[in-house]
Structure formats: structure tokens, C-alpha cells
């Protein structure tokens, strides 16, 4: 049988620490943190005024008449998607538009617009709700705008599974290419949650990290005994996914192959993760890639720095990889770029692909004192260069329990490819 393979031909990011994959990866490699104190007056009154912002002004990218229709979440998505398309040197006007699709993950959607609308209604007691409130805040706005701007007329889908949303968006996009429904999918995630209302709601759940008094940029400490929670970040990340022969035929540069996608649901508790659910998703991803547990060379962990996640994820990795778990570098780049919620899965997959291409594993920062329950090789403090990486895994777990795991491999990983067929 002819197996349709999924090539990754373009990457795009607008994230804390970089508005291109090269800038972002340089900063991650150097262990820099994009987390900072939120000093603007709008954030006054927060218990934990920290976050990972993107230096991004939509007015530099969109005309005045258009920007009024776009929440920040769509602005970030459109710019990251444009990068992924340009990187792939893809011209949608020469493609069969119904054979191309868009797949986006977001958790909060147009949160800024929603926040502003509520302020108008309840705080100002005003009737002046902006006419574009519904269209800017609806969760599928980002995906729709990408489709409109590039004339992509196949499936246009938005997934919302909290923190695994965009891992699901990528995985489901890959499945559509494999099934033969489409040849090209622009897939990614976007999130713009840094509003007072959203931050306040997350604080109320007691999951946000306490600011590090000496160094706010070190507030997110995955796998550390001193971890106190996650730090919210904003941004967008997109990949251009193509059926392998489609990419080869147009002479595209294939950066990686998306070979594995595993999806399970905890069915236990709305916030507490389970070892069985996370391990099941990793195993399912290995199975779909046709890889053994000995063939994964790096795991980009979900690693949120919440009390619950990090020990459960560590236990799940050990359950899946056995003794080998101790030999695989596992890092949480959230220690630097924060938790992008619905955009996290796509961003971390893009980082994993960049690792694969460069043979460099980015570090977990601020891990001076590991939790005894977290005893793997977390690449603490310093990036590791000169690595031979053939297959990398990116974990995304979520409130609600939807666990999504993606695997990318070197495009020339011939031996494994043959063994899969």
C-alpha cells in the first residue's frame, strides 16, 4: 500500500523570545527567559503580575480598516502563518485550493475582545459594545482569516482542547493529509491571554507561579522542588504540512517528517492528569510512527511547572521508556517562553523540529534543585549541542484531560522509514 507521508516544509513563530524560529532558538539555546514582570497599569492588582509577552504591534502588520476586525490572537496567528507559508515557498494561488486546509488550536480565542466587551457592558454600563465583538472573539476567527487571506478552501478547522489544542490541530491536520483528503495543511496554534481578566481567572485557580522576588524571569521552574506553578505567555506558531510527494514535486525543502501522533483522554479529573493517560498518548504516538521506545532521541516535555504535571509526566515517561527514560534528554522550554496554552503544542513542536535540524537540545532553566520525584535528565541550565537527533517527541497535556503527543523525524531517516513499510 502506498503510505502518504507528511512533510514539514515551513515553520513560523511569533513568540516571546523571537519573531522567527532562528531568533527564538538562539535565545532558547542561550537559556534566556522571556518571562518578565507585567508592569503596565492594566495589570495593577494582580497577585502574580508575571507573563511572557511578545513584542508585537499589530498596526505594523495590518491596515487600520482590517485591524479593527482582528483580536490580537488573530493578528499573531496571521503573522506566524505568513512566515510558515513564506518559509515553505508555497504559493496557494497555484494550488488546488480545495485540496488545502487550515487547522488551528486555541484555548481562549479572542480573549482581549471578550475582556473589553465585558468592561464596556458591566464596568462602564455602556451600550457601546463594538460591532465586531462577536467576529473578533469567536474561537475560529484566526483560522477563518488565514483561509480568507490565502484562498484556502478545503477544511478550515479550529480545535479547543485547552493546553493541547494546537498539538491536536497539527496531529489532526497530518491525519487529513495521510488519509488523502488534502495535500497541504497550514496548522498551528495561537493564544493572546495576557489580559487582566484572564490572568485573574488563572490566579483564582492557584496555578500561576509566584513571582521570583530576586529575578521575575526565573519564576517558571519546571521539575524543580521550588516550582510554584505556570507562567502564562502569548504568541503563535504555525507549520506548513504537505504530502511528501507534493513537497518533492515542487522542490520544497523538507525540514522534517511528522510521523507520530498519539491521542488519549484521562477521563479522571478536570485538572489532575493521570500517568496512564499521558503514557498512553506517548505509546500511541510511537505506534503511529512505527518507532520503538529506543528510537526517540529527545522529548520536549509539557513541563508546565505545576505541582501536578511535572511529577506525573516524569512517571509517564518512565512508564513508556523504562530504563531508557534516564538516557533521553527531556526539557521544558516553558521555563523560558512560558505557557502559551492553546499555542503551546505548536510552538513546542516547532522548537522540537528546530532541535532536530540543528542537533541541539534546548535546556530546562531554573532547575537548580530538582524535585526528588523528578529524576530524569532535564538538560538543566545549559543547552546541549552536537547531538545526533533522529526522532523527537513533543508532549502536550491539558485541563480536561486531552493528551496529544507528536513525533518528528529527520527527513532522511531511511532505515526507520523502510521498517515502517
Amino acid at each position: 500500500m502506498n503510505i502518504r507521508r507528511v512533510a514539514v516544509t515551513g515553520l513560523g513563530v511569533v513568540a516571546p523570545l523571537g519573531a522567527s524560529i532562528d531568533d527564538l532558538f538562539t535565545n532558547l539555546k542561550a537559556g534566556r527567559s522571556g518571562i518578565a514582570r507585567l508592569a503596565a497599569p492594566a495589570f495593577e492588582g494582580l497577585r502574580s503580575p508575571i507573563g511572557a509577552c511578545v513584542a508585537f504591534d499589530g498596526a505594523a502588520h495590518f491596515a487600520a480598516a482590517k485591524i479593527r476586525m482582528l483580536d490580537r490572537v488573530s493578528q499573531l496567528a496571521l503573522v506566524a502563518a505568513a512566515q510558515a507559508i513564506a518559509d515553505a515557498k508555497l504559493d496557494f494561488t497555484t494550488e488546488r485550493s480545495e485540496r488545502c486546509g487550515v487547522s488551528v488550536g486555541t484555548s481562549m480565542g479572542g480573549a482581549e475582545t471578550t475582556d473589553e466587551g465585558y468592561h464596556t457592558i458591566y464596568a462602564e454600563r455602556s451600550e457601546r459594545v463594538k460591532p465586531y465583538t462577536v467576529l473578533a472573539s469567536m474561537t475560529n476567527a484566526a483560522a477563518s482569516w488565514i483561509g480568507i487571506d490565502y484562498g484556502i478552501c478545503g477544511p478550515n478547522l479550529t480545535y479547543s482542547t485547552a493546553c493541547s489544542s494546537s498539538a491536536v490541530a497539527l496531529g489532526e491536520a497530518a491525519r487529513r493529509i495521510r488519509s488523502g483528503d488534502v495535500d497541504v495543511m497550514l496548522a498551528g496554534g495561537t493564544e493572546a491571554p495576557l489580559t487582566f481578566g484572564v490572568l485573574r481567572a488563572w490566579e483564582a485557580m492557584r496555578t500561576i507561579a509566584s513571582p521570583d522576588l530576586h529575578d521575575p524571569s526565573a519564576s517558571c521552574r519546571p521539575f524543580a522542588q521550588t516550582r510554584t506553578g505556570l507562567v502564562l505567555g502569548e504568541g503563535a506558531a504555525f507549520v506548513t504540512l504537505e504530502e511528501w510527494n507534493h513537497a518533492v514535486a515542487r522542490g520544497a525543502q523538507i525540514r522534517a517528517e511528522l510521523t507520530g501522533y498519539g491521542l488519549t483522554t484521562d477521563c479522571a479529573h478536570i485538572t489532575r492528569p493521570t500517568v496512564a493517560g499521558q503514557a498512553g498518548a506517548m505509546r500511541a504516538a510511537l505506534t503511529s510512527a512505527g518507532l520503538s521506545r529506543d528510537e526517540v532521541d529527545y522529548v520536549n516535555a509539557h513541563g508546565t511547572a505545576t505541582l501536578q504535571n511535572d511529577s506525573v509526566e516524569t512517571a509517564a515517561i518512565k512508564e513508556v521508556f523504562g530504563k531508557r527514560a534516564y538516557q533521553i534528554p527531556v526539557s521544558s522550554t516553558k521555563s523560558m517562553h512560558g505557557h502559551l496554552l492553546g499555542a503551546a503544542g505548536a510552538l513546542e513542536f516547532v522548537i522540537a523540529v528546530a532541535s532536530l535540524e540543528r542537533g541541539i537540545v534546548p535546556p530546562t532553566m531554573h532547575l537548580d534543585l530538582p524535585d526528588p520525584a523528578c529524576d530524569l535528565d532535564y538538560v538543566a541550565g545549559h543547552a546541549r549541542s552536537g547531538m545526533i537527533l533522529r526522532a523527537v517527541m513533543s508532549n502536550s497535556f491539558a485541563f480536561g484531560g486531552t493528551n496529544a503527543v507528536l513525533i518528528a523525524e529527520q527527513p532522511d531517516n531511511e532505515r526507520r522509514r523502510l521498517s515502517r513499510q
Binding site: A63, A64, A65, R68, E127, R128, K130, P131, Y132, L135
Partner: protein
Amino acid sequence: MSTLETLQDILIDEFALTREQLTPDAELNALGVDSLDLLELMFKIEDRYKLAIRDDVPTTLSTVNDVVLYIDGLLGRQGKALGADGAALHAAT
């Protein structure tokens, strides 16, 4: 300042248009100002003229002049012929 000039100022600010494009018979749609934009525009007009427009903006306004006539009509009905600077100034049309 006439109603036309005031409207032109707002549209120039908000939609990056030029005064030359904003002739009285220019079609709003052709200028990239659609029906939802027009509703948002009305918030600015309410402020400028201290008018209460609420949700009764007719859907038949298609040219710049249609909007001018609509505003002037409201100014007459609500007895608030105020200029942008708040001085008693009759909207000259």
C-alpha cells in the same frame, strides 16, 4: 466645521483614507467601510456631536453624503447643532 468635514476627519483617522477619496457621492463599500464599520463609526459621531444614536442606524446609508444627511437629520431632531469644538455652530449643509 461642516458635518462633511467632520465625517471626513473621522474616516481619515480610522480608515487611513484621504480627503480626496471622501467625496459626497463616494460609496462607503468601495472605500472599504462596511455596515459594521459604520456602526462603530457612529460611536465617534455620538461623541463628536453629543448625540444618542443607539441601535437605529438605517441600513440604507451607502454614500458619504447619506451619512452626512443622516447626522444632520439627527442633529435637527435632537436639537443639538453643536460643532466639534462644542460651540453652538450650525452644521452647514
